[in-house]
Every structure is written in structure tokens, then in C-alpha cells.
């Protein structure tokens, strides 16, 4: 718009009598943080449904629902709707859960074993078309031993199974009729047992949660949480500046614009949320062991973190986050060493061609790297990696695409993939790197096959002895490192802007956590709002 027309627009607008009548001086009623019983947050992502079977709050991050178990600040499972942690049979193929007494759903009905059984049976029922079935594929049966005890039977011994029990439990009455979960009223009018009930959901705009006075853990002191949805990052930052919200989730660059601004603070959480380069085995270049190893040495991970993420990240070499200290193999890293990368390529027969690009037996060292076009972080990482690869003589062509276009090409072209889980190494690595999941949807899309990795992952999955598991996952990392199948780049840090200070937040009950891939206002500094105190 030229200055002239903009001026005329303003003139035209100001000429409107209706405008003059309504343009009272800005007195936006910012929710004052003194009114600690209420909290207004802004989220960039609006859930499409609130049905646990369609993926809502599956890692336990839900205010409306409780799972049988839930995570505490130290990422340890604690009983929620269970009375105590699930106990395995000797072969870890069946798990018994005793249930908590005196729990009621938001609709007043009481919580019993039948509700747990109904929830998990509906999940496994193909008629529900649940999106979460794959992660429960080991469950062969769910039964109520008595009204307060439930038993899960598994197809194979599975040590990490209690982590699957964070799924929100629904009342059996609401699941009485089998049918697609997407058509159930629960998608928009959820009934859970959680610390908050859904008071209002204006789609596309906001969600209001109200404290559940009959919550089994005691009524929350933060009485009302309003989550406003604003998908655009800049809009959210702008509205945060104008004092409209108490907090929001922002990418690092925007979050740090609140550094040192009076009345605001920035909180950043470590995560197991990795970004990695998926390298298809079927491609003659990315499938070559030397190219894979060389890429891992050529990638300047710390440089990417400093330049692209404002320092908000940690280098990644395997899917096991450093946060999982008891499982992380300390030496499982690749040094940033372009010379070594060149040497590896040279020794494997990839020699520089006339255009500077290496080649071997007429095959140029060239591959395409895809990234989801709408994701700027992945685009930036892809560009940085392409330039690092170019420095050692590998030609990486970039293509930003939609998921529809990416999916059919994953067998032939590389891809910037994201994911991650800080709770158990099995959840973080099995489906990603075990050969039994090769090219199974988005699981192990590069068809990575390594018998040593398979054996270690299987040992970790089947053993319930913590020491044996820790050993297995260290061995897994060593085996992977000897023959990497991907280029793990970074574990992102998730950044949040809040009003007030982190000290205030801590005084009220906030505890820092390490987050999985998913984040937002359900995680972040607000993950345990139900435990907050109004007056410290």
C-alpha cells in the first residue's frame, strides 16, 4: 500500500461516525497477575478434538483427564487413578493395577474398573478408528478382576508398559456404543476425572477450564484457566506485549524479545524433542555407511544451535536425550570434524569430481533433503546441514513440501524428522530404529537395519531389571554410533514468555520439567497448575 492510499484509508476510517463512537481510549482489561485464581494463556495450537482415543493428552498432559499413572517433575511415574504403581507378573506379560477409591467423573458417576476396561477396549476396537492403537498393539486383553482391580495381558514382555497407562480414562457409559470416536460427543464435551472440567470451548478462539471441586487430589486453587488460540507466532507475541495474556509459548527468537522487558520473564525447558536427518537405506548415497558417518562428523551442531536457535538447544547424536542420564551413554557423540568427514569419504572411494562434488563409480554424492514447508526451524536446520555437507563435498538439494508429498518419497529421499520422549528409552528409540518397524508408516522410515541395535532394543524392552535395561540401552547407543543410520542434530529447548518472574512462579508451585516432542500451554511452566498455591 502506498503512503498516499494508506493515509486516505485512515482518513476514510476516521470519517466513520460509528468508529468515533466506539474508539474509547485503550483500556484493555489485562488479567492482572494479582488475580492469581485466574490465568489467561495463549497457545499456537488448538486441539482438533478432546478425545483421548484421538490423541488428546496421551502423554498425560491433560487437565481434564487422568490416566492410571502420571509423571511427576522428575519424570517418574506416580499413581493417579491407580492406587499404586502397576505391578508386573514374573514374565512382565501381564500387569495388574489396583484402582483408587472415591474418584468421580465430572458428570458425577463413580470411577470403577469397568471404566478402565471400557476405555482400553474401545481403544483397541477397530470400529473406534483410534489414532493411538499402534502404541498399544502389544495389549491382547484388558479385564476387571474385581471392581477395583484391572489386569492388562500383553503379547510379549514389555518393561515400559506402565508408560502407556497415562492415557485418559473415560466413563464406560460414554463408550457403550461402539463406533468412530470422531463422532462421539466426547470430542467436544469431554468427561474425565481430572483437576479441571471444560467450561467452554469456542472453536478457533478459546477454551476455558474450571477447577473440579470434587477432584480426588483436592480442588485446585487456580480456579479458572483460559487458553486463547492464536496460531501466528508474531500475533501471539504482539498480544502478549499488549498485556492480554499471562503467558504463551513462543519460538526462541520471539521469546527472547521479552528478555529484560519490565514485568516479563522467559522460561525455557529442556526437552527430548529431537530434530534428525532421516537417511533412506534405499538411496545409493544416503544408504552408504561412509556417507552417513561423514555427515555425522560434518554437521556443526553447536553452530546450528547458536545461530538458528539462539542457544536454546543441546546437540543430539542419538535419540536418547542427555536428560535420560541413567540411560545415556556418556561417550555417545560425534566430534564436529570436517577433515575426518572428508577422510572417511575419501577412504570409501568418494573422490572429488570436477565440480567439487564427490563421486564414486560415476555416482555423484548428491541427495535430496525434504522438510515440511511450514516448519521454519526444520527449514533452517536443513539449510545449515546442506552448507555443512557442501563443505565436505556432498551435494544436498533441499525441497520444502507438504506431508502428503513427503510420505510417498521417504524411501528414496532424506527428510528432517522430529520427535522424542524423555520418559523411557524404549519409547524414544524402538519404533524409530528397530528393523521390525522398517518403512512402517513414519516409523523407521529410512529402513535402518542393524542386528546389534535390534538385539539391544529387544533386551531393553523385555527386561524389567533396571540395571539390565540401562546396560542394554548403553549397548544400543554404542551399536548405533558404530554404524549411524541418521544424523541427529539437536534436542530443542521449548521457550515460554510469562508475566511476572520465574521466582514468583516457583513460589506458587511451578517446577521445571523436561518435555517430550509435544508442548504448548498444557506443558511448559503450567504443566502442574492444579498444584499451584494462590498465596505463597
Amino acid at each position: 500500500m502506498s503512503p498516499l492510499t494508506r493515509r486516505s484509508v485512515v482518513v476514510a476510517l476516521c470519517a466513520l461516525p460509528v468508529l468515533a463512537a466506539c474508539s474509547a481510549p485503550s483500556s484493555t482489561s489485562a488479567p492482572s497477575s494479582a488475580a492469581a485464581e485466574q490465568l489467561g494463556l495463549a497457545d499456537g495450537y488448538e486441539p482438533e478434538s478432546l478425545h483421548p482415543l484421538l490423541g488428546y493428552g496421551t502423554e498425560g498432559a491433560s487437565r481434564i483427564f487422568d490416566g492410571l499413572v502420571a509423571y511427576d517433575a522428575a519424570r517418574q511415574l506416580q499413581p493417579a487413578l491407580a492406587a499404586e504403581l502397576p505391578s508386573p507378573s514374573a514374565d512382565a506379560r501381564s500387569w495388574t493395577v489396583r484402582l483408587r477409591d472415591g474418584v468421580t467423573f465430572h458428570d458425577g458417576s463413580s470411577f470403577e474398573a469397568a471404566d478402565v476396561v471400557a476405555t482400553y477396549r474401545a481403544l483397541l476396537d477397530p470400529a473406534s478408528a483410534s489414532t493411538e492403537t499402534t502404541t498399544y498393539s502389544m495389549v491382547t486383553g484388558v479385564s476387571a478382576l474385581d471392581p477395583r482391580t484391572v489386569r492388562f495381558d500383553l503379547a510379549f514382555p514389555y518393561a515400559a508398559f506402565p508408560h502407556r497407562l497415562t492415557l485418559g480414562v473415560l466413563p464406560s457409559e460414554a463408550l457403550a456404543e461402539p463406533g468412530p470416536a470422531e463422532k462421539s460427543p466426547l470430542t467436544t464435551k469431554p468427561i474425565g476425572t481430572g483437576p479441571y472440567r471444560l467450561a467452554e470451548w469456542r472453536k478457533g478462539e478459546r477454551m476455558v477450564f474450571e477447577a473440579n471441586d470434587s477432584y480426588w487430589g483436592g480442588a485446585s486453587q487456580v480456579r479458572r484457566i483460559t487458553v486463547v488460540f492464536a496460531t501466528d507466532d508474531n500475533t501471539r507475541a504482539q498480544r502478549m506485549t499488549s498485556g492480554e495474556f499471562d503467558g504463551t509459548v513462543l519460538p526462541p527468537g520471539l521469546a527472547h524479545t521479552f528478555d529484560g522487558r519490565a514485568g516479563y520473564s522467559v522460561i525455557s525447558h529442556r526437552s527430548a524433542d529431537y530434530r534428525t536427518l532421516m537417511l533412506p537405506t534405499g538411496n545409493p548415497v544416503t544408504g552408504d555407511a561412509a556417507v552417513r558417518l561423514a555427515l555425522n562428523h560434518a554437521a556443526n551442531r553447536q553452530g546450528m544451535i547458536d545461530a538458528l536457535l539462539m542457544g536454546e538447544g543441546e546437540p543430539a547424536y542419538t535419540p536418547i536425550a542427555p536428560a535420560l542420564a541413567e540411560y545415556a551413554e556418556p561417550g555417545a557423540t560425534f566430534a564436529y570434524d570436517p577433515d575426518r568427514a572428508r577422510q572417511i569419504l575419501q577412504q570409501a572411494g568418494w573422490v572429488p569430481g570436477p565440480d567439487g562434488i564427490r563421486q564414486r563409480a560415476g555416482q555423484p554424492a548428491r541427495f535430496t533433503l525434504m522438510y515440511p514447508a511450514s516448519d521454519t526451524v526444520r527449514k533452517d536446520l536443513a539449510q545449515a546441514l546442506a552448507s555443512d555437507a557442501r563443505a565436505v563435498g556432498l551435494d544436498v538439494r533441499l525441497e520444502g513440501l507438504g506431508w502428503e508429498a513427503i510420505e510417498p518419497r521417504m524411501g528414496a529421499d532424506a527428510l528432517v524428522l522430529g520427535g522424542g520422549n524423555p520418559f523411557d528409552p524404549d519409547l524414544a528409540s524402538y519404533a524409530l530404529l528397530h528393523s521390525s518397524f522398517a518403512a512402517d508408516g513414519f516409523n523407521n522410515p529410512g529402513s535402518y537395519v542393524n542386528p546389534r541395535v535390534d538385539a539391544a532394543l529387544d533386551t531393553g524392552r523385555r527386561s524389567t531389571d533396571p540395571t539390565a535395561r540401562a546396560q542394554a540401552y548403553r549397548e544400543f547407543q554404542r551399536a548405533y554410533l558404530a554404524q549411524p543410520g541418521m544424523v541427529f542434530l539437536v534436542f530443542l529447548r521449548h521457550t515460554y514468555a510469562i508475566t511476572g518472574s520465574e521466582q514468583d512462579y516457583r513460589a506458587r508451585g511451578y517446577q521445571p520439567i523436561i518435555e517430550p516432542h509435544s508442548h504448548g500451554t498444557g506443558w511448559g511452566p503450567w504443566w502442574n497448575l492444579e498444584d499451584w498455591k494462590v498465596s505463597p
Binding site: 500500500m1 478425545h51 483460559t226 512402517d440
Partner: protein, 320 residues
């Protein structure tokens, strides 16, 4: 006239069916795959076999004509179907959102009309004056300006720059949709919509008023020494208004698309955002219902405009 109305209404039915069919065919030809929207991040952990089974359960791979047939069958029994992208029955989506869109489009239309009447009369009356020159220039500039550019400019200046008005939404965060709240948030989108639609009406009214002012009955009225405002408002304006009614009918589609863009920019919770998500997620039932609704609104608007002209102007006759 009754005959004409009946004929036009009967003709509307096949038009609507064809439009709906076109929506299904276009959707089927688009590259979007609804399974990604259905799964969300769950797609990254789901096994291929599981995804295939869900596809089958949800009937996603049925040929487009079969899906169209099922939808048409449901429509015949009054069932508009279920919106996959919003996980709500389509009826519920419409009931929740259409009133907000009507409020915005209706107020915008009224504003555009008021602007047209006031500015059209003033500019024609004082043709060549400073107001005439300013308004005509502005109107021509605005005609070439897409409504979303105007909307973004208005947000930049009035909401972010001066802070007079909220930049978007139906209410402030956490506030109830009270009259005051909604009115405050309605001002900017309505102003943008009204101003973006007004130029055609202003210029059109100005032109027809100018020619009316030169007509014999107006010259006669002036000769009889009637007051100037009586001459302009009572004698010239009524003749000039008739073509405006026609133009209004013809510009309804513009109003609808303008409203869609304005809704998106101002995060107004009307049907526009539903259109966007329905389009990206190949949500056939919702897409078809909204398209039908807007097509019907346009057809009905044109019909009402014609009827109005018939009633207002005794010289015009319904053909046949």
C-alpha cells in the same frame, strides 16, 4: 411475478446440486490427504497397517461419486453429515458460526450502503468540489485494493500503531461475549468490510445521480423554485436508487468473499475459518454445506434485488 420467483427458485435446485458436485470433484482432484489431519502428530507413530485400517473404517478411499451419493442421500433426509476437520456435526458448525458471519456481513453491508448514500449524494450534488475529488480518487484506489490488504493496513495503524481498537478475535482474552465486548471487536472488521465494498456503490450512485440531476423532472423541480435538498433527495435520488438495488444484488458474491478474507485476518469466529480448515482437510460434508449456503445466499440475494426492482419500478415487468 410469482411465476418468475417460482421459476428462479426451481432453477436454483439443479444449480445447487451441480455446485455441490463440483466441490466434491475439485476436492478429489486436490493433493490433500485427510488422513494427516485425522491423525495429527499420531501419524508419526502409527503403523502402516493401522493407518490403512482406519482409512477403511472412515471410508476415506471410497470413490468421489460414491461419497457424493452418500452425502446427497443424507441431505435428502435432512442430515448434513459430520465435519471431520472440526469433529462436530455440520449442523452444529453452521449454528455456531453462521450468526457471527451474518452479523459481520450484515453490518458491513449496511455500512457500505450508508457510506454510498451519504458520499454518493454529497459528491454528485457538489460535483467537482474538493469532497467529490477526494472521494472519487479514494474510491478508485480502493476498488483496486484487495480487502485483506485494507484489513492488514487497518490492523497495523488502528490496532497496533494507535492501539485504539483490538486487533482480532470476538472478545478480549477470557472475556464473555457481552454486547460491549463484541461491539468493540466488531468495529474494525465491519469498517474494513464496509469500506472495501463501498467504492462501487458510491461511484455508481454518484454517476446515476448525476444523470438524474440532468433529467427533465429535476430541472422542472428546480424551475418551480423548490429547495435544493428537496430537489436532490426527493426528485433525483429515487430515480438514481433503482439501479443501485440491482448492483447490490450483483455484488453479493463479492461481499461474501470479502467477508471470508476479513474474517480470516481478524480471527472472527465465523464460517470463514471453517472454510479454510474444511478445504485443507478435504472435509467434504462441511465444504459442500458451506458452498451450498453461500451459493444459495447469492442466488437469493439476486432474486430479492430483482423482486425489489419489480416492486419499486412500475416500468419493469417480469419476463414471461
Amino acid at each position: 411475478m410469482r411465476q418468475m420467483v417460482a421459476r428462479r427458485l426451481a432453477f436454483a435446485v439443479p444449480v445447487l446440486v451441480l455446485v455441490a458436485l463440483a466441490v466434491f470433484l475439485l476436492g478429489a482432484a486436490s493433493p490433500f490427504d485427510p488422513i494427516f489431519q485425522y491423525y495429527g502428530v499420531g501419524i508419526f507413530t502409527a503403523s502402516a497397517a493401522e493407518v490403512a485400517r482406519v482409512r477403511e473404517t472412515l471410508n476415506l478411499d471410497a470413490p468421489v461419486l460414491v461419497q457424493f451419493g452418500q452425502w446427497l442421500g443424507g441431505l435428502a433426509t435432512g442430515d448434513l453429515g459430520h465435519s471431520r476437520s472440526l469433529r462436530q456435526p455440520v449442523v452444529e458448525v453452521l449454528v455456531q458460526r453462521v450468526p457471527w458471519s451474518l452479523l459481520l456481513a450484515g453490518t458491513g453491508l449496511v455500512l457500505a450502503l450508508v457510506l454510498a448514500l451519504v458520499l454518493g449524494v454529497l459528491t454528485a450534488w457538489r460535483q467537482g468540489g474538493w469532497l467529490d475529488r477526494a472521494v472519487t480518487a479514494t474510491a478508485h484506489a480502493l476498488e483496486g485494493l484487495p480487502s485483506f490488504v485494507l484489513a492488514l493496513g487497518a490492523v497495523a495503524v488502528l490496532a497496533l500503531g494507535l492501539g485504539w481498537l483490538p486487533a482480532g478475535g470476538l472478545t478480549d482474552a477470557g472475556a464473555e461475549p457481552t454486547f460491549g465486548q463484541v461491539a468493540r471487536h466488531l468495529v474494525l472488521p465491519v469498517a474494513v468490510l464496509g469500506v472495501s465494498q463501498a467504492p462501487w456503490l458510491v461511484l455508481h450512485l454518484r454517476a446515476s445521480l448525476l444523470s438524474a440531476l440532468a433529467e427533465d423532472h429535476v430541472i422542472g423541480a428546480r424551475a418551480r423554485g423548490l429547495a435544493e435538498h428537496v430537489v436532490v433527495l426527493r426528485h433525483a435520488l429515487p430515480t438514481a436508487l433503482l439501479p443501485l438495488v440491482n448492483l447490490l444484488g450483483a455484488r453479493l458474491p463479492e461481499l461474501v468473499t470479502g467477508a471470508v478474507l476479513v474474517e480470516v485476518v481478524f480471527s472472527w469466529p465465523g464460517i470463514a475459518s471453517a472454510v479454510v480448515s474444511a478445504g485443507l482437510d478435504l472435509d467434504f460434508p462441511l465444504l459442500a454445506a458451506i458452498t451450498l449456503l453461500t451459493t444459495a445466499a447469492v442466488l437469493l440475494g439476486a432474486l430479492l434485488a430483482d423482486v425489489a426492482v419489480l416492486l419499486l419500478d412500475p416500468r419493469v415487468r417480469a419476463d414471461g
